[in-house]
């Protein structure tokens, strides 16, 4: 079995919002950053200007959630500045400023495995996390991420001597394909009556987009067409001793999909 090199990063964030695209009045947050957010951070830190395919495993935990006020800037396409209104003047355009509420995760700890398709990128990504060119953020621009550990680790698919539970208190995004052959087990709870399968919250998370032109060549209209990943968000997971699964060299579970 192929051994893959991964950059394992442990991050800590104080108060953070990973906005669910469908929430407006209250900006709800995902419990962990979606794939696209992490991929975006890696690209920014590395200064990549084109897309590099990579696999990401996301797990972590947070202490609690709070709702806090946040400033909201509203842009209207081509909206002119109006002195009469509470607006900020940007050249001749006006930007409205108001308040909104954001849901924030408190004390978030993240464990990310980043596996670039091109192994030669591994040292570049490692360096980007060891010596960041600017302050790293994950989520909103102000959601600063403190990098606690960076490690290059081997990831391979193997059997473990005994069943392995996800690390203490961590939750993970488990790609749905991993649950289909029963290689991931869910621990039912006294109150989870009647089921012991797929115990968790199902999300459809953004991963990567392509710009698709819906207009004409002369008057282009670009939309982002997203590749999405179906996952189960759960903490009650373990991999049994009979299953082959991705582990890193320190026996952390790595939640990535295999190539089709």
């Amino acid at each position: 079995m192929l051994i893959m090199k991964a950059i394992r990063v442990k991050l800590w964030q104080d108060l953070v919002n990973f906005k669910k695209p469908t929430s407006f009045q209250l900006k709800e947050t995902y419990p962990l950053p979606p794939y696209s957010t992490v991929i975006g951070m890696v690209h920014t830190l590395c200064g990549f200007t084109s897309y590099h395919e990579m696999k990401i495993s996301i797990q972590g935990k947070y202490f609690s959630k709070v709702n806090d006020l946040a400033t909201r800037y509203e842009f209207k396409n081509g909206g002119k500045y109006d002195v009469e209104r509470h607006q900020i003047k940007v050249d001749k355009y006006g930007v409205s400023r108001g308040v909104s509420t954001a849901e924030l995760l408190v004390d978030l700890e993240l464990l990310l495995h980043i596996i670039p398709e091109d192994p030669s990128l591994v040292p570049i990504i490692e360096k980007a996390f060891r010596e960041p060119i600017e302050f790293p953020s994950l989520g909103r621009r102000e959601d600063i991420a403190t990098i606690q550990e960076v490690e290059i680790v081997d990831v391979e698919k193997r059997q473990s001597k005994k069943s392995t539970e996800i690390s203490d208190g961590y939750n993970a995004y488990v790609p749905i394909s991993l649950t289909e052959n029963n290689s991931i087990h869910f621990k039912s709870h006294e109150s989870s009556v009647g089921r012991d399968k797929l115990l968790g919250t199902r999300y459809s998370l953004t991963e990567k987009y392509e710009r698709v032109n819906h207009g004409t060549e002369k008057a282009p209209k670009f939309f982002r067409k997203w590749r999405k990943k179906d996952v189960i968000y759960s903490s009650r997971i373990f991999v049994s001793k009979k299953d082959v699964f991705f582990f890193d060299e320190d026996n952390y579970l790595v939640f990535i999909e295999e190539e089709e």
Partner: protein
């Protein structure tokens, strides 16, 4: 070597207790080798189930000197799983699911809520190692194994075997239910000091003796066609329709043969009567090891029979409660509450998996009980048990629903019905009136049946007023138990067909079933065809028609009869009324069955409240997941009881002394007084009680009188007389 205790009073070591289980295990295996269980695994769980008790906190609790520690104890079942030899089971070729089932059966042999943290549990398992080195039990043999860490694949606190959606899941669920259920049975028996099962090696012989008795009286006597049919189909699920008086009890027993069986009936009085008949006439020796009676008043019934046979009543009672007897006559709710699959239901279904169940008088059940019955039978069928439904009248909807729920059965083509004619009916198109009845009171014994108590009271008072000094009586459900029994005795005497005493009994449907009475004339309100034919059974019960008309049915005329729309289904009432008016006059038994079939067929019922309730209840019960409810919850839901047992104020005043002496007895501790004496006090107290429906209870005032911490009695402010029962002032 340290002695690890399993029980404190009397002191018993884990090894001794386990030995007792193994004895019962052997017994069960010998008597019922065909049970679909892996006997090796059952023996294994018996061996291991209590090993977790060697933890020091438990040892401290049962009073062992070396026991120590403080804090919350982890329930011992969850600790015993540390001793499952999982690698050995793997080597033996047991599947993952089978090994899981072993762990869970052990962990959950007591249904304790999992209210401790996983880390505390893990720590406690590690602590067991020290005790394990001091522990010795030769019978563990090659299964002696301890692991300080439990393999998560097989078990973690909170793991469960659910019914699931696939055939494979259903198979695993069945394995779990049988393994855990039988472990429970064996464990209960070992703790109770009784045998887990007693052999049925007598019933066919008893039946032969019974037949010999018949033959002694009449050399031509033989089992009738019904009884022969049942004997031929001992190994089938069957549904038979047979007229009352065709010897259904014997037929049921002949179907049962030398097997373990449960005989269910809807009413306690009917159960008592059949129990008495069987123990007096059929199973005449060793009854306390052969036949039991199981309903909410088992103990007081046993007290009544104590003098007749030699028995240790407490032991007999334990045997009955634990379902160890070969033949048990019981109410539906004693068995079929398992359909809710509450936490701890397994032993009932496991027992039924090797039993045969006889369901008698199915027409008496309300829609909710019918729903439980249909679901229960489908489970019993799936688990390997057998059933037989015997009934005088069969609502077609029952067989349709059984088939729909995947239950197969055989149904004889013939109906077991006699050609004799007993009843000729006249329809009266008015509400029930005493004026109509009065002229018939010549030398007749008359039975009047009303749908509601209020109506019965009214008719009674009018007749009483008119025929002063004559034998006019009233019976309904709102008499205290003592008076009700006296009235039942009296109506039984007056209801003998050779009795010549002219009298009128006004009653409600309390006389519909199980009272063996035979009056000359019946006047009744219409409820529905089924109820009507039951009521007809109380008139010319065992004789041929020799008058022009012996049954008068008041159909309410333009109005409806009392109780219709409240507890009698409107549509069924309407259909019954139409069909009966078409068939007034002489009614053969066969005709009666036909009429019931027409009114209660699935097509005729669809749209009725009865039908909707039935379907809704089936879906309601199915909607619960296994283990979702606990037992107490299910007790509440199952019988949908909306009445309260009370002692009327006046009764209390008149019997203050006796009631108080019961209170005194019930307040004593278990050291001062035996269980039996307490049971006697409770039985005596019940003599003064009557159950009143909720709506009535809410109208009156009541005082709750506490007996002790767990029991109380309600005193109800209402009028009462032994003549008319409860009345509100």
């Amino acid at each position: 070597m340290q002695k690890y205790l399993a029980k404190s009073n009397p002191k018993e070591t884990i090894q001794e207790h386990t030995d007792n289980l193994l004895k019962n295990y052997q017994r069960l295996k010998k008597l019922y080798p065909a049970v679909e269980i892996d006997w090796y695994l059952l023996e294994l769980v018996c061996l291991l189930h209590d090993l977790g008790k060697m933890n020091l906190l438990f040892q401290k609790k049962v009073g062992n000197d070396f026991g120590k520690g403080k804090g919350e104890e982890i329930p011992h079942g969850y600790l015993s799983v540390a001793f499952v030899p999982d690698s050995k089971l793997e080597e033996m070729g047991y599947s993952e699911d089978e090994i899981k089932v072993v762990y869970q059966a052990i962990a959950r042999h007591h249904e304790r809520k999992y209210d401790f943290s996983d880390s505390d549990w893990k720590k406690e398992i590690i602590r067991l190692e020290e005790q394990w080195t001091n522990f010795n039990y030769s019978r563990l043999g090659e299964n002696a194994e301890y692991s300080s860490e439990v393999e998560m694949l097989y078990f973690y606190p909170g793991s469960r075997t659910f019914e699931g959606n696939s055939a494979a899941d259903a198979e695993t669920f069945k394995k779990y239910v049988l393994l855990k259920g039988l472990l429970n049975r064996i464990d209960f028996a070992a703790s109770g000091g009784i045998d887990v099962e007693l052999e049925n090696d007598f019933l066919m012989d008893s039946m032969k003796v019974q037949l010999a008795h018949f033959k002694a009286e009449n050399p031509e006597a033989d089992w009738n066609s019904l009884q022969k049919y049942m004997m031929r189909h001992q190994n089938d699920n069957i549904v038979v329709i047979a007229e009352t008086g065709m010897g259904k009890t014997e037929a049921g027993l002949l179907w049962l043969g030398n097997n373990k069986g449960f005989f269910t009936l809807p009413l306690r009085t009917a159960i008592n009567a059949i129990y008495e008949r069987i123990t007096k006439n059929i199973v005449t020796t060793n009854q306390a090891e052969r036949v039991g009676l199981l309903h909410s008043e088992t103990y007081s019934q046993y007290l009544l029979h104590e003098g007749n046979a030699e028995m240790d009543i407490d032991e007999y009672y334990t045997r009955t409660r634990q379902m160890s007897l070969p033949v048990t006559i019981c109410t539906l709710d004693q068995l079929f509450d398992f359909v809710f699959r509450y936490a701890g239901f397994e032993h009932k279904l496991a027992t039924l998996s090797y039993s045969k169940v006889i369901i008698d008088e199915i027409q008496m059940y309300s829609s909710d009980l019918l729903a439980y019955l249909i679901l229960g039978l489908s489970y019993i069928d799936k688990f390997g048990g057998k059933f037989c439904i015997m009934t005088a009248t069969l609502p077609g909807i029952v067989t349709d629903l059984l088939l729909e729920n995947g239950v197969n059965f055989v149904q004889p083509k013939e109906k077991f019905v006699s050609s004799r004619v007993r009843h000729s009916m006249e329809m009266v198109h008015t509400e029930i009136e005493s004026e109509f009845i009065k002229p018939f009171f010549n030398n007749n014994r008359i039975l009047v049946i009303c749908n509601t108590i209020n109506k019965a009271k009214k008719i009674y008072l009018e007749l009483k007023e008119h025929f002063q000094g004559e034998e006019i009586h009233l019976i309904h459900s709102q008499f205290i138990k003592k008076d009700r029994s006296a009235k039942e005795d009296a109506i039984f005497k007056d209801g003998q067909k050779d009795s010549t005493k002219k009298c009128i009994w006004v009653a409600t449907q309390v006389v519909e079933a199980s009272l063996d009475i035979d009056f000359d004339l019946l006047f009744t309100e219409l409820s529905d065809v089924n109820g009507l034919f039951q009521r007809m059974g109380r008139c010319y019960r065992n004789r041929a028609l020799d008058v022009d008309t012996n049954v008068y049915v008041f159909d309410g005329g333009a109005k409806v009869c009392s109780g219709v729309g409240t507890f009698i289904d409107k549509l069924i009432f309407g259909n019954s009324k139409t069909i009966l008016n078409e068939h007034a006059g002489v009614l053969t038994e066969e005709k009666k069955m036909e009429l019931v079939e027409q009114v209660y067929s699935t097509e005729a019922l669809s749209g009725s409240e009865f039908y909707n309730d039935l379907i809704e209840m089936i879906n309601y019960v199915k909607a619960f997941d296994s283990y979702e409810l606990d037992k107490a919850d299910v007790r509440m839901r199952f019988r949908n009881i909306n009445s309260v047992s009370v002692i009327p104020e006046k009764v209390w005043q008149e019997n203050a002394e006796e009631i108080n002496s019961c209170f005194v007895a019930l307040r004593k501790t278990s050291k001062e007084i035996s269980t039996k004496e307490k049971m006697i006090a409770r039985t005596n107290l019940a003599e003064f009680m009557v159950s009143v429906p909720d709506y009535l209870y809410k109208k009156g005032k009541s005082v709750v009188r506490e007996i002790n911490r767990y029991e109380n009695v309600v005193e109800f402010k209402c009028g009462y007389s032994d003549e008319i029962g409860i009345f509100m002032q």
